[in-house]
Assembly symmetry: C2
Homo-oligomer: 391 residues x 2
Amino acid sequence: MKINQNYSNLCESYLFASIAKKTAEYKAKNPQKEIIKLGIGDVTLPLAPSVVAALQRASAEMGVKETFRGYGEYQGYDFLRNAIVGYYAEKGVSLEIDEVFVSEGAKSDVGNILDIFDKDNAVLIPDPVYPVYVDTNVMDGRKIIYLEASAKNGFLPPPDPSVEADIIYLCSPNNPTGAAYDAQGLRAWVDYANDRGAVILYDAAYECFISDKSLPSSIFEIDGAKNCAIEFCSFSKTAGFTGTRCGYTVVPKALIRDGASLNKLWLRRQSTKFNGVSYIVQRGAEAVFSKEGRGETAKNIAYYMDNARLIGDAVAKKGAYYTGGKNSPYVWFECFDKKESWEFFDYLLENYGIVGTPGAGFGEAGKNFFRLTAFNSRENTRKAVDRLLSK
Amino acid sequence: MKINQNYSNLCESYLFASIAKKTAEYKAKNPQKEIIKLGIGDVTLPLAPSVVAALQRASAEMGVKETFRGYGEYQGYDFLRNAIVGYYAEKGVSLEIDEVFVSEGAKSDVGNILDIFDKDNAVLIPDPVYPVYVDTNVMDGRKIIYLEASAKNGFLPPPDPSVEADIIYLCSPNNPTGAAYDAQGLRAWVDYANDRGAVILYDAAYECFISDKSLPSSIFEIDGAKNCAIEFCSFSKTAGFTGTRCGYTVVPKALIRDGASLNKLWLRRQSTKFNGVSYIVQRGAEAVFSKEGRGETAKNIAYYMDNARLIGDAVAKKGAYYTGGKNSPYVWFECFDKKESWEFFDYLLENYGIVGTPGAGFGEAGKNFFRLTAFNSRENTRKAVDRLLSK
């Protein structure tokens, strides 16, 4: 019996555990000081009323013989996939219903999609980035090439023609940097991938925060993307589903690699290792696309975006270079006095009573940067901003 | 870019598609004939009232700021894991809360657990069996050894000391044969696995149908099992959750292989590629263990078991050898006149208007057997039985 030895190559991440420990220690020493947490990447506003109503209706249906539902479709119910197809149509992207796969979250799909690729592929991963991309490839033993993002490229690195990659991760708007590619930036990546026969794994979990209408909110808005990209999307940030769990992945039928349809491979993977998302949750997700649901969730997104703007403006007033804050709930800024990010964590906590996330937690290239998030209340966000600007 | 070539070694399964096609063709030719479907492995009774109430309560909580829940624990909420630990305590099995992993279904876990094992392990899979065990290992390119179940061993094959296996699948009560190991039968497997340092993947998805109190309903009732087994369980059949989606997997801390804790490896896998089950669904699952929930779900299980008994008795009266029907919702019997199972499918449809599942769909060793299920209504089950006994 041999275990998967690649697991021993994983770095243990103590990022959020370290933050919690440092915060608790500070609190114990300074019990009278009020700490404001702008470190979390989790939503705080409750589900929209129309979503709750849909969840309750579906729960009731499950208790009645005539409307009870057993196993659903592996790819998700038609009612939800049709709503997703309609949402893409508004972006000018035409999808077929069987290009859409409903899942219990983008994180699972981003990890599980690797099942359909050989271990022997070179993987290009931006730095800094959401750690799941790296960890899931380390688990499989794939070769990882890092793509450095920095202030020089606005944390939106372009393709480097000298790098040979087979699988490319892009996250836009980015976690943690909040930077979002424009159409030209994405087109360069689509061309690069199509030239090389590579596949782009496009994480669009934060697409709902794009308010600048000139920016693409799906990679499929770019010509040729259906020949090279898989897009991951989620209701987590769009509609506060982090604890309700629903996402979806788009695998175009035009995406053929190594003689195989990736759509068919993914269907085979999902139908073998997955049994579909809860009917109740799918009804909740469907309600997100209703007229009422759209209005209600837009209000929540606007609330977070106003917080993001407040934070971004404050950071700018402090003279720091930053990305995000505009089309993203994250503000990513250079630590004052170019401090190292863990050192800056202590500095921010001690001087302003604010907790954030050190950039080093997202990769080597983040070591002088810091992430603040827009998910706290308006009141606390204002208080944090006032503190930042007070001295 | 190379795809995972192992996918090309998968056999396309047309089992249920073929059944649907044959049934539709027969119906088109014989529109006046009423067909009774005893082929499905899906539940039909609605969720218990106390479960529906819990789902609705949790949905309402998600719509209120003070009770809203974002990301939960990767392993599941304590309230549910504590309830599961309590359920095992009733079986005389003592578990720690962090040995329990809540998931959105046993199928996903049975497939995903393979991530933590090296490709280079020999896998022992009973034949006939639930096709997911085979397919998920083919996807990884592992060597599969088949273990033939037959009437000779009551479809409960014992270990063969001459076979060297690293990963062993056991499903008890079995899908499709309905046969359930007794303590002595399981002990032989536990000893075999511990002797060799192998791991048993024990699928207990049908444990709630065990009515014979002398039979173990968890492999952990056997001494030494915590040193060699992982157990997969589900609310699908226990409480009609096939469309609601919740299961759990028990990975004992005492299970060490190749110098590593499989509990820690699985936690690492799940925390990297999974984000927990919907809070709402977990509250529904918790209600299954409440006093009301236990009573309500027990009534549903008894209903199915009465159906199973009717089918088993009828098959016996026809003089056929059969397994299951007692501690399982499945009746697995030898095709009359030793017909081949697909031929028997046609025979049963044409002569009795009954649809079932040909044993060949579950493996080579099932080719002269047939599966009928207890999940239809009492009325239809009685009608089918009357037809069988009428000629």
